[in-house]
């Protein structure tokens, strides 16, 4: 009797969904995602949307940092570029939200390519500092180009709509977020299997060797910056139409650091890792907040002690994950899968 998952052709080896079990569980996940808005309350849907934005942004950054090895601290700035672009296109030019999303992505991608130019000369921490400049430059533009960005006052935008149907609640917006998450993840998953994806990994592993085997470093590094920033631009556009307002303080440097933390905790160079990272970094603080709210009811008057503990607990969790699994949550997931692959006869 055949027992195991045999890949006897190259086509089977390259399949995204490689076994019946994977297809089954993905079907269950899809069903859950479709049912979720009908069983969740407003707050849960708000968090679901935030997780969606985090996933898109983290997948984009992982393409640049995890797959191509280019560290960027400008991700928040590119999110801001996307947010302002879509807000300006909709409020000034009267474009529809749906058209503003790809345009926001394209403008952010252009910004990303410009900021990515130093990557041809500098690497590692030096590149990190070069991309940090994007944060300061764009933050300055958001605040001081008042005729376009409305400065500190920000821009209010109407909710997206199709015909007369407005996506003005968490539940309705959830469908938009879900659509872009699925689209973003599928594109990224396919991209890393393509020539471009392999070129990214070759550059990450050894750029000199990559160049010798005929990979155009200039083209692929800038492509990685463009694609990553495109993702960031889309997140920015979604974020601004979700909140219905954009102000410069929505895109601090800390946001870039958070995105880096997402892909490191989730797993560098893994699409699944970016998804896990996005979920972890958004959901865990909320779970801790909910627990702390419960503690407030049980032990009133001790808030001064346990409220600051939230950050300590969250920080500890990140450290523990990194110590016990430096390759991130995606690797933990792989180990769990491997355990059950032969369970209960794992001899």
């Amino acid at each position: 009797m055949r027992c195991g998952d045999f890949k006897e052709t190259y086509v089977r080896d390259e399949e995204i969904f490689q076994s019946l079990f994977v297809k089954f569980w993905l079907g269950v996940l899809a069903a859950f995602l479709l049912i979720f808005p009908f069983i969740a309350n407003e707050y849960m849907l708000y968090i679901a949307n935030m997780i969606g934005f985090a996933i898109i942004g983290a997948v984009g950054l992982n393409l640049l940092t995890g797959f191509t090895g280019q560290i960027s601290l400008g991700h928040a700035a590119f999110i801001g570029v996307g947010a302002y672009t879509s807000a300006i296109l909709v409020t000034r030019l009267g474009l529809s939200f749906w058209l503003s999303i790809p345009l926001a992505g394209l403008v952010a991608a252009s910004a990303g390519m410009i900021i990515g130019i130093p990557s041809l000369r500098v690497k590692g921490l030096y590149l990190c500092i070069a991309t940090l400049a994007a944060q300061f430059i764009f933050e300055f533009i958001f605040i001081h180009w008042e005729s376009m960005t409305m400065g500190i006052t920000g821009i209010n935008v109407p909710p997206p709509s199709i015909g007369g149907f407005e996506f003005n609640t968490e539940k309705r917006f959830y469908w938009i977020t879900l659509f872009f998450v699925v689209l973003g993840v599928i594109y990224a998953k396919n991209l890393v299997r393509s020539r471009m994806g392999r070129a990214f990994m070759a550059i990450r592993d050894r750029d000199l060797s990559a160049e010798i085997i005929g990979i155009n470093i200039f083209r692929y590094k800038l492509s990685a910056f463009a694609i990553s920033s495109f993702y960031a631009g889309v997140v920015g556009a979604l974020w601004v139409f979700y909140l219905k307002v954009v102000t410069p303080d929505h895109f601090p440097l800390l946001l870039s650091v958070e995105y880096l933390a997402m892909i490191i905790v989730g797993g560098l160079g893994s699409i699944l890792g970016a998804i896990f990272g996005g979920i972890f970094m958004t959901l865990v603080p909320e779970i801790i907040n909910t627990l702390s709210a419960a503690l407030k009811t049980i032990m009133p008057g001790n808030e001064a002690f346990f409220e600051p503990l939230k950050s300590v607990v969250f920080g500890m969790l990140i450290i523990l994950f990194l110590i016990f699994e430096p390759r991130g949550l995606a690797e933990i997931w792989n180990r769990i899968k491997n355990f059950f692959r032969l369970w209960p006869f794992s001899y």
Binding site: Y43, Y46, E170, D249, P285, E286, N289, E303
Partner: protein
């Protein structure tokens, strides 16, 4: 069979009675708040939580809102927009409040469209920004004090009276908080015949302000008004001004009229003035302050030595909440419309000296008082009476 029938009838009656009692149960008013209990604004949030809770507990002790006890729930927003908004939505989903309190201007701006269209709750926050005092655009938002522009107006009015045509300089941070009243401040200077000679910008926490101080000296600024800072670089600017021989009067708005700034200024405290919206904890000649002190002695003995202006701000906001609830209840219930009408009809409300009798105008309380630091006592002392703007 008979027993089963009796049991079922009994159950039906119980459920019916329970249902009727639910229908006729009186609706208790619910207030929810997101405070920056941790994060970089925690210096205000830690006291602010107690201020709001104490005012609500006092009201409940005195019978609540026409006999209905006020429910109060709060969460920490960490002074981050996304965390604060999540806490807002969590509190709303869980408690369906009539009134909400937010942690910052950023959170207020982000939520104002939804408060207007969906949530329809009376809302205030740790903000003195104009957005919360524009009843035409945002009728549910209000400030239990003056806006930053009104604070600038009070300061400039005071200067114009004391020293007509004086040279003014604005020294602000490159943040939303810092820039908010500047355009209006320029106009007010023109209207009052004051000479705006300089505008200096610095980062919050900036340590090298030599260029700005030298520029202030070159332009012969007589009054320097800070906006958007809590302590640093106010202390640095004042120390360097002394070194470079700049003889100017330094002033600040609400968040820079806290006691800790005077402690940091040391002997320079005497040269610092500001505009505040509420009486200080040590001004116990006022009945409300006396009551607050007694309450703190009883309920928070470990914190009873001093309560900051953030405490007073939250306390005052809660007093307005309670008053609006009372008025809404008299109008027939805690509906959003009644709460707004109730808020806007508050007139000459005696708050025992915490502020002068309160009248809500354009969803704010446009009144302030000039105070001066005292290095010996480490306290701000009033140098003017309450200045009303409208």
């Amino acid at each position: 069979m008979k027993k089963i029938v009796i049991f079922l009838i009994g159950c039906t009656l119980c459920l019916g009675f329970f249902g009727i009692s639910q229908i006729y149960a009186e609706e208790n008013p619910v207030i929810c708040a997101v405070h920056p209990f941790t994060g970089r604004f925690a210096f205000a949030g830690i006291h602010g939580v107690d201020g709001m809770k104490d005012a609500i507990d006092m009201a409940n002790e005195q019978g609540g809102v026409n006999g209905k006890k006020i429910e109060f729930h709060w969460e920490d927003g960490e002074y981050k927009n996304d965390v604060g908004i999540a806490a807002f939505k969590r509190l709303y989903a869980k408690h369906k409040p009539h009134i909400m309190f937010g942690q910052s201007t950023g959170m207020t701006k982000a939520l104002s469209p939804e408060i207007q269209d969906r949530y329809k709750v009376l809302y205030s926050a740790y903000t003195f920004a104009e957005i919360a005092a524009s009843p035409e655009e945002n009728p549910f938002l209000f400030i239990a004090g003056p806006t930053y522009i009104e604070m600038f107006n009070v300061l400039l009015k005071y200067i114009a009276e004391k020293d007509p045509g004086a040279n003014i300089a604005f020294f602000y941070s490159d943040t939303e908080f810092g820039r908010e009243p500047i355009p209006a401040g320029r106009e007010i200077c023109k209207d009052l015949g004051l000479n705006l000679v300089a505008e200096q910008v610095a980062k919050v926490g900036e340590t090298d302000v030599t260029t700005q101080v030298l520029d202030l000296k070159r332009k012969e600024a007589q009054y320097v008004i800070f906006q958007g800072f809590v302590a640093t670089p106010i202390t640095t600017v004042m120390k360097q001004a002394k070194d470079y021989g700049l003889d100017a009067q330094f002033m600040g708005t609400f968040w820079s009229t806290e006691k800790h700034l005077l402690d940091q200024l040391g002997p320079l405290a005497d040269e610092y003035m500001g505009v505040t919206a509420y009486s200080y904890y040590y001004q116990d000649e006022y009945p409300m302050i006396k009551m607050i002190r007694e309450w703190n002695q009883k309920h928070h003995p470990d914190k009873a030595d001093y309560r900051s202006q953030a405490y007073m701000h939250s306390f005052m906001t809660a007093l307005v909440f309670v008053r609006a609830l009372e008025k809404a209840d008299e109008m027939g219930g805690f509906t959003p419309e009644n709460l707004v009408k109730g808020l806007q009809s508050i007139k000459d409300y005696d708050v025992g000296g915490l502020m002068p009798p309160v009248t809500i105008e354009n969803n704010s309380i446009p009144v302030g008082r000039i105070v001066r630091g005292n290095s010996k006592t480490g306290q701000f002392e009033p140098v003017s009476d309450w200045i009303h703007l409208k």
